[in-house]
């Protein structure tokens, strides 16, 4: 039955034959779990392939089946949130990314906390390098007049003097925040 369902879904979403055939070749429980996610989030082919790739990599690393990864409680919880399809897709991707890149995401979380604790006003935005692939932060200031610019600069100066700021640069430089090597 699942094979027919997969074919029907893939045909309706105009998936390529290569992706459909690959989907049909995987073990039935994995195929079914993939269909559940695809149906729940109305996934296009590229979206499905992206999630599938991460899920497979997690499965290989953690010795799990594809179905076990895709039915992880964090994925099920994200799917079940009463939000729009796009928002649920973002949450599912974030949950899967957290499983796929546990140490990277933990470091990103710690950096977000540290940036939040700098107390920067909304006019000052600190951005981290993509995937933390770099040791520089980008700071953007939005000001409509000299007074706003001065206030933003002072807030930035105060932030730079906080210990949390030094930790941000240490983490970007490769120091572990959990010291687990």
């Amino acid at each position: 039955m699942t094979h027919l369902d997969i074919r029907a879904y893939a045909a309706a979403r105009r998936y390529s034959a290569a992706t459909t055939e690959r989907w049909l070749r995987i073990e039935p429980q994995g195929g079914e779990a993939l269909l559940e996610v695809a149906t729940a989030l109305r996934l296009g082919e590229n979206q499905l392939r992206g999630l599938w790739e991460w899920a497979e990599e997690i499965a290989v690393r953690d010795g799990l089946s594809l179905a076990q990864v895709l039915r992880h409680e964090s994925i099920l919880a994200a799917r079940a949130r009463p939000l729009s399809r796009n928002d649920r897709l973002k949450l599912v991707k974030a949950a899967l990314r957290r499983l796929r890149f546990p140490r990277l995401v933990a470091t990103e979380d710690r950096l977000a906390t540290l940036i939040g604790a700098l107390g920067l006003p909304r006019s000052v935005r600190m951005t981290l390098p993509d995937h933390l692939e770099g040791d520089e932060v980008r700071v953007e200031i939005v000001a409509q007049d000299p007074a706003a610019l001065r206030a933003a600069a002072l807030a930035l100066q105060a932030a730079a003097d906080r210990p949390g700021c030094a930790e941000i640069f240490r983490l970007l430089g490769g120091e572990s925040h959990d010291h687990d090597g």
Partner: protein, 372 residues
Amino acid sequence: MTRDRRPLDGPRAAPWAPETVWIERGEEHSALAARVRARLPATPFRIVGDTAAAEPHGEGFHAGKRRLVLQRQRGSFLQHCPAGTTGMVCCNYLVMNVGSNCPFDCSYCFLQDYLANNPALKAFTNVADGLAEVDAVLRAHPERTFRIGTGELIDSLALDHLTDLSAELVPFFADRANALLELKTKSDRIANLLHLDPRDRVVVSWSVNAPAVVAAEEGGTTTLEQRNAAARRVQSAGYKIGFHFDPLVAHDGWEDGYRDAIERAFDHLDTRRVAWVSLGSLRMTPRLKAAIKARPQRAPLLSAELVPGPDGKERVWRGLRVQMYRRMLEWLRQVDARMPLYICMEPAGVWEKVFGNAPADREVAHRLVATP
């Protein structure tokens, strides 16, 4: 933590032999062809006008590793190392291509991408032309010392039991004052080397890795114990030694694994006669990643926390990468703080975090040839 230091020897890898040898017409009487024929009396030989016929069209990359093509190299033998990418600190290494592809089957090998369209394993019959090319470069720049390696597109020694190529290369470089030859390998085919005098101009280096990575990802290669035993023997025979911990793979237990690999590598070696040690993180282009995925067995290394970098290659994300380099550096310096170390294909920012400074390209090269 106590590490298991039992020998890692498994069954000895048999010397590689091709199923068929293809010879380019006109090269059948070359010295190389004569040597290979003598070593493989029972192997079928085919003489062809165009060696493109030897490519395994439609049979996949691995079919290329089961055949040997003896042909002339028509282009330049000498090239700048392809690792010298813009934005990366480069060690100014030159590559002398004496053949292409490799009998081993490492899951992460970049040749799966680089040679995807012409994977038949080749050995060039006119290496003398390559040496003439090297000679011209060395004579044109007597003030510079060059590092030249043959192990970029082919393992430097894996075919030496068939080709005796080292017997041509070592005496040539032994007579040159301004060059170091690097023979880089994962094999233990060192028999020819033991009877030659390198006169301090030849570095024999081994690519080594954590035992779990060797076992899972380096198909057909020798064990770490065999590589290390070979290193000790060639050092005793007067050669300088090098080690390449490349690719470093972030896997469960990587710290114990790499520390163990370091301890084993330098056990009973004279570290004053180590020319260099390099470190390099696992890196892959999208095409290489696709090739690895297409392998019959899923390679666990794809599940590492790999992210795309500015050069389009995926590597373990920078924080973890720097951490791995720092730990390696710490352990290597515990072995001998004087050993010259470098990292491969990393930007200046990573060098700064690991070594505390980012040298200019020329400076890296100078450090590596300045060793006693």
